[in-house]
């Protein structure tokens, strides 16, 4: 049972809440960081060197706010669908 034993490889009964937590972490990385970074930096790389650039009559840098708001709405929706579940320490065999 100590450190370094092969017991690491033995199968365990996984807590489904913690499996979901990992999926949520991946969603956070993909949507909250990767996609957001790609969208945001696409704007920066396209217009960043032109101080006078306007998009529909509005300075380009204002669109960083619009991208942020759009992603904020997406992330709020993603959060809405996060499963609400009990936080008891163990599913079986332990006290709350």
């Amino acid at each position: 049972m100590g450190v370094g034993t092969n017991s690491f490889r033995l199968p365990i009964e996984e807590d489904p809440r913690l499996k979901r937590a990992f999926k949520e972490f991946i969603v956070m990385i993909l949507v909250g960081f990767v996609l957001y970074t790609v969208a945001y930096w696409s704007l920066l790389l396209t217009y960043g060197s032109n101080p006078r650039a306007l998009i529909a009559g509005i300075p380009w840098w204002f669109y960083t706010l619009f991208i942020s708001i759009a992603f904020a709405v997406v992330l709020l929706i993603v959060t809405y669908f996060m499963k609400e579940e009990p936080l008891d320490p163990w599913i079986r065999g332990g006290g709350a």
């Binding site: 690491f8 009964e13 489904p16 509005i58 840098w61 942020s68 992330l75 996060m82």
Partner: protein, 504 residues
């Protein structure tokens, strides 16, 4: 700057500040009463994580206000005014902090913390890495070395604004802002800090609401359109100042990483994930946090626009107080000031608790494992007081480069803790050897580069901030050390992934 301070403004600042201090003192005393009723064997958990019973608004502000700090209200505006577009166009960098901390890490941390009785991130790392004392001690060292100076910077920043806006001596400003903060953190623990945070969060929001109304209202009235404001900025500050690519892209992108994804490695932000009472409260904390932080962060644009009205300032960090004093009615300047002080105090209070919990659990408890609950209670409060006092004493030296210390503190913490936290929570194979190697290599790389002993970031990473080589090398060290050494114990796997408790 002192030339524009009117007696009305000084009076309003003094009045608002007095009311503010009285209110947070009352809230601190109330929290002390709640804490006083706690059973002594549950005192430490109640003190550091408020019995894991915090509601949505408090959790939202522990993360948002704790992580935003004076950087969002003083340092960041100063940089936007000074650097121009390379900083102003990056405002989206930190706005999803509540989502990252709670959606990405919150459920796992919340469940695991309840399993092991964790009151700090250090407890989580200690249990995950097979009760390695070295991991825990390294964590305590990183937290103490980087977060105490970070705390003192918050003291200094708020005292300087106070000094400028009231004309009172620096030491008086420092004492008033500091003593009250240490008081309510020491007597109220996280519950006291959380209660005060509700007031502080409201004041921080009001601060930017007033500045946005005053500055954007004035600019739109003077120039008529956003395009005309853009032209005015080019005319006053020059095309170069408005060019996003004026600074090396590698450096700017590394700031994006530090203040974006890097925030999940900051222990004072993760406190919220240890203390929420239910998943429902956690989700609501995200609903509250995202719009609030977006509002505060894009509020920094007032300093960017402020360049039109104040093209020259002796100190860039003075821009927000200057705008408050000149573009708002005298009575409202005091509210802006209270908002700025709130930003500093909220961060100080959460950091003091993080450092004190690290010292209690990973230094004191190792030295004296037989301490009774009564002793732990006494030491908890004493350590909190000592950490606050130490940050206060450091602030007396009034260091000149505040932003440098902030970036140093965040970067050092990230370089040391990022991979041990992420891999500890989500990679089963990660073991204590990997975590130890990662912490040591991350810290060493970051320090060597930051102190310019070896120019790693400029030679290998195109001029990025030293935190990038720190992260890359600590990742490599983690992977190599992990694969060269035995896997973690089944106990750790069971605690962090299993459905049932470990047999022992």
């Amino acid at each position: 700057m002192s030339g524009v301070i009117t007696p009305e403004l000084r009076l309003s600042v003094a009045l608002v500040f007095s009311v503010y201090l009285a209110l947070i003192t009352i809230l601190g005393l109330y929290a002390r009463r709640v804490l006083g009723k706690t059973a002594i064997d549950r005192f430490v958990e109640e003190f550091y994580v408020a019995g894991r019973g915090l509601g949505a608004a408090v959790v939202a502000f522990i993360i948002a206000a704790g992580l935003c700090s004076v950087g969002t209200f003083i340092g960041g505006p100063g940089l936007a005014w000074f650097l121009g577009m390379p900083w102003a166009a990056l405002m989206g960098l930190q706005i999803f902090m509540n989502f990252y901390v709670l959606y990405g890490m919150g459920k796992k941390l919340g469940i695991v913390a309840r399993r092991i009785g964790a009151v700090s991130l250090g407890d989580v790392l200690y249990e995950r890495y097979d009760r390695s004392k070295l991991v825990a001690i390294l964590y305590a060292i990183v937290v103490a070395v980087f977060l105490i100076p970070y705390c003192s910077v918050q003291f200094v920043g708020s005292a300087r604004v106070f000094e400028v806006m009231t004309g009172w001596p620096y030491i008086v400003a420092l004492a008033l802002a500091g003593i009250i903060t240490v008081f309510y953190a020491t007597v109220g623990g996280l519950r006291g800090v959380g209660l005060v945070l509700l007031l502080q969060g409201a004041l921080m929001t009001l601060c930017y609401a007033l500045l946005i109304a005053g500055v954007w209202g004035r600019a739109l009235s003077d120039f008529g359109s956003l395009a005309a404001i853009n032209e005015a900025l080019i005319k006053v500050a020059g095309e170069e100042w408005m060019n996003f690519f004026r600074l090396p892209v590698a450096w700017v992108f590394s700031q994006w990483i530090i203040f974006n994804l890097g925030l999940i490695a900051l222990p004072h932000g993760l406190m919220g994930a240890l203390a929420y009472k239910s998943v429902k409260a956690m989700k609501r904390a995200i609903y509250i946090g995202i719009p609030i932080v977006t509002f505060w962060t894009y509020g920094i644009w007032v300093a960017f626009i402020g360049k039109i009205y104040f093209p020259q300032l002796p100190v860039p960090d003075h821009i927000n107080p200057m705008l408050a004093m000149t573009m708002l009615p005298a009575g409202l300047g005091g509210l802006v000031f209270a908002g700025i002080i709130s930003a500093a105090q909220s961060t100080i209070a959460t950091m003091v608790l993080v450092v004190s919990s690290a010292l209690l659990r990973h230094i004191y408890s190792f030295v004296k494992p037989t301490a009774t609950p009564a002793e732990l209670k006494r030491v908890t409060m004493l350590l909190t007081l000592l950490v606050g006092a130490l940050a206060f004493i450091l602030a007396l030296t009034s260091p000149p480069a505040l932003e440098f210390i902030i970036i140093l503190a965040i970067g050092g913490t990230m370089a040391a803790l990022f991979w041990p936290i992420i891999f500890g929570l989500y990679w089963r194979r990660a073991n204590k050897y990997g975590a130890i190697a990662s912490m040591i290599v991350g810290l060493a790389t970051y320090s060597i580069d930051k102190l310019k002993i070896l120019p790693i970031s400029s030679v290998l990473f195109g001029g990025s901030d030293p935190v990038i080589p720190g992260l890359v090398f600590s990742l490599i060290a983690f992977l190599i050390a992990t694969y060269l050494t035995p896997p973690p114990s089944r106990r750790a796997i069971q605690l962090f992934w299993g459905a049932t408790p470990p047999e022992d």
